[in-house]
Amino acid sequence: MGNCLPTLFGFVRQQDETPLRRNRSSEGAMSFTNPNMLQQGSSYVNQLYQHNVIRQRQAEERGKEIDEAKKNRIRGLLDQIPADVFRGDMASNECAICMIDFEPGERIRFLPCMHSFHQECVDEWLMKSFTCPSCLEPVDSTILSSLTAHNMQSLQQITSSVPSSSAK
């Protein structure tokens, strides 16, 4: 829309500068009404255009805010997923995302479904989709169950050492 306006104005200006200008008096009605109509039309069009641009910008900003909030939420969740430095005696050996073998000393993240990846690789994926890249198991719901399993374990440890706490 913004592109057609300059050409319209350009067209009117060009017409004014032609030798036909001499005949202006005979065409008075035309030359007076036409630019007026254009001006009225253009200010209305401009308003519409400005509103549109403002609305678009607002929508973009809102979208960015939502994206940022989502990313922050995921970052918070990522902290709850166990990660460790790879050691030679660990069972897994290849990252299914970059297809490169784990080297001792690299950061590895273990998802609740027991699949493991380079932390750098899997974090990028989890930002897009909160599922395991290998089995598509949603990480969200399983986090809770694995956490509770963890808690159960520690509870059991407590109960075995101090029998009185088992009543709770």
Partner: protein
């Protein structure tokens, strides 16, 4: 393209190229440019399907975010299949859209497409005309798919002389062969309806 993507693609290409099961599965890839963004895939038509004996080529484009985004894959060989557009070759397959996972590879994608060729899913069609024919006239679908395999994928089944005759009639009227086959297929090989469709 990121380092992860380049590394992975190099390994994937090696995987497909060196894999000994290629002769059994009939999938192959061919690298078109050095930075591995454009790749050509080949799938041999699975036996006991209308595509048997044909060789189907696919265009594979690797996005910048690979493997976090799926590759875009479409048939460049024309194919008559409910989940593939008979006009553009676009494939309707969940793992190429929302079911993509970063652990999927070019090999698993091509194998999935091959599996789709074995068992079409007409309830989730890409080409509604083909899907309708698949459900309502399975025999016509089968012979049409075979005819397409022979014509476009260098298939080896004997030519259906009945269909070829109708194609020739349209060609005599100045219609290109590809268009003639396409329009006849969409009209269940009814020559009159195809003629009306083309010339009206």
């Amino acid at each position: 393209m990121s380092n992860i993507a380049l590394n992975r693609l190099q390994r994937e290409c090696k995987e497909v190229v060196t894999n000994s099961e290629i002769s059994e599965t009939g999938i192959m890839i061919e690298i078109l440019n050095e930075n591995l963004t454009e790749i050509k895939g080949h799938i041999r038509g699975p036996p006991d399907t209308p595509y048997a004996g044909g060789m189907f080529d696919l265009d594979i484009k690797i996005p910048d975010q690979y493997p976090f985004s799926p590759p875009s894959v479409k048939f460049c060989t024309k194919i008559w299949h409910p989940n593939v557009s008979s006009q553009t070759g676009v494939i309707c397959l969940d793992i190429l859209k929302d079911q993509w996972a970063a652990s999927l590879t070019l090999r698993t994608v091509l194998l999935s497409i091959q599996a789709l060729m074995c068992s079409p899913e007409p309830k989730d069609p890409q080409d509604a005309v083909v899907a309708k024919q698949y459900m309502e006239k399975p025999q016509v679908f089968k012979s049409t798919a075979e005819f397409w395999t022979l014509k476009f994928a260098k298939g080896t089944v004997p030519v259906n002389t009945d269909y070829q005759g109708r194609v020739d009639k349209l060609k005599d009227m100045g219609v290109r062969e590809e268009e003639a086959i396409s329009v006849l297929s969409c009209n269940n090989w009814d020559l009159n309806r195809a003629t009306v469709y083309i010339f009206s």
